[in-house]
Symmetry: D2
Subunit: 153 residues, 4 copies
Amino acid sequence: MKKFQSLENFSNKSSLSLIKKPSVEIKERVRYSETDRMGLAHNKNYLEWFEIGRTEFCRHQNIPYSEIEARGYYLVVVEAYCKYRKPLGYDDEFNIKVILDQLTPKKAVFKYELLKDSKIIASGYTVHIVTNSKTEVCSLPADIIEKIKAIKP
Amino acid sequence: MKKFQSLENFSNKSSLSLIKKPSVEIKERVRYSETDRMGLAHNKNYLEWFEIGRTEFCRHQNIPYSEIEARGYYLVVVEAYCKYRKPLGYDDEFNIKVILDQLTPKKAVFKYELLKDSKIIASGYTVHIVTNSKTEVCSLPADIIEKIKAIKP
Amino acid sequence: MKKFQSLENFSNKSSLSLIKKPSVEIKERVRYSETDRMGLAHNKNYLEWFEIGRTEFCRHQNIPYSEIEARGYYLVVVEAYCKYRKPLGYDDEFNIKVILDQLTPKKAVFKYELLKDSKIIASGYTVHIVTNSKTEVCSLPADIIEKIKAIKP
Amino acid sequence: MKKFQSLENFSNKSSLSLIKKPSVEIKERVRYSETDRMGLAHNKNYLEWFEIGRTEFCRHQNIPYSEIEARGYYLVVVEAYCKYRKPLGYDDEFNIKVILDQLTPKKAVFKYELLKDSKIIASGYTVHIVTNSKTEVCSLPADIIEKIKAIKP
């Protein structure tokens, strides 16, 4: 799984990633309702946390996702993957790190890491296609691409 | 709370409810993801179960809720109440009973009971106003009201 | 406290609440996954927001809810009510205000307001009984009650 | 992506799967609360549907998952993948097909397909490790393995 290997690389910060990618890191907490009877955060919430990360990523890039949709473009999820490494419990505070891995006018790939006390709790990726409001495939305009791709301090 | 008292009445089946109201009863099961770390179904799911009940109620009345929305009418929830009487656990099978308590062109009140082994697990109600797709208040047309109000065998 | 008074009023409480009650106010945002096909936040999320509010209320009172549970006490929801006054959409930022309305060793009542741009979006309450981990009714010890009831600046 | 390729094989039914694997297929409907403001089922629900599928798979194998947990064994999700092929909307009826792809005392792999009108809506897999109630790795006993692996008519 090549994609996931490259995620590994960035995760371990070991690496030769010469090209810096746009990213953001935000804090979240596990809600009581997000736990299940094992006492831990349920697996489906991770996809929701990835999405919160994307929302904050877009805001950080000065192009709120609501604005992208208002202009008629939707980044529809066509693939999602998560590797659950360590458990999270109620009220645990953790970080969501989002990296834009690829972006073309028709496709985006985001990678994610959840971190707690600097340890990787989970990692994953989502693949998106660009559609209009009728879920017909289309292309992101250049100005939106430029904003999403900008490297921020 | 007058409303809840009248709910109590119907709950205890004691009563003199001379006027039969349209109702439906369906089966559901508690999903793993619906439990929390107490080991029981989380309180927010009950509102989702009430909603599943409304969906099946409308279908039973030969006017699927998706059809009501397709015609431009929305039954927006403006109040929701639930009394949690007994806990539900993972994989528990229970019944959702939905009763149309009131219906005018501008407002609907549904009452609910969740039952397990003929015992009342929870009861509640929701109040709805009728809006168009822009959430402007409007009135349900006569043919929809007639269908929703019809007493079915 | 005008807003809170209006909550009191709608709740059927009499009025001039001379006694200040412990409270907390936090910020939240509507997640994409919390919207439904009407384009607005789904009604069940409000109960989850009330719960996030309780978590932050307990932390603010220096007795994190996880600590209360670690000591063997559970504040089980037995009633929940919400009045939905104005809609919330994706990415809307709003405040959750939580007020401890009543607390005895065996019972707690919390009241809530959701506010956006100083306007009340929703209001509601939850009633809780105190149980042990086997959901048997029990009493909160004095030191926990004292902490929960303390008026904080 | 070896795993996904093998998933592809089973998805396309092209293949020479000489070894029949235990499986089950159940019906579900998209709940209103499972849609988002795009008007379609939100991506996180698919993991919940996979889980409902596992619950019904275990029941079908005469070893309800609640019984597995009651005996002290947990099938903890360590990886989840979903490919979203076609959208699902409110009230859409679809089938969840679950196949036990691998089972050893310490690990299980399930594959899934969501089908609507015989068309594949989504496919995916989950990888599980076996733990005790303290999330320590352990091994499933032989009798449980035998039941889970049994080919049913």
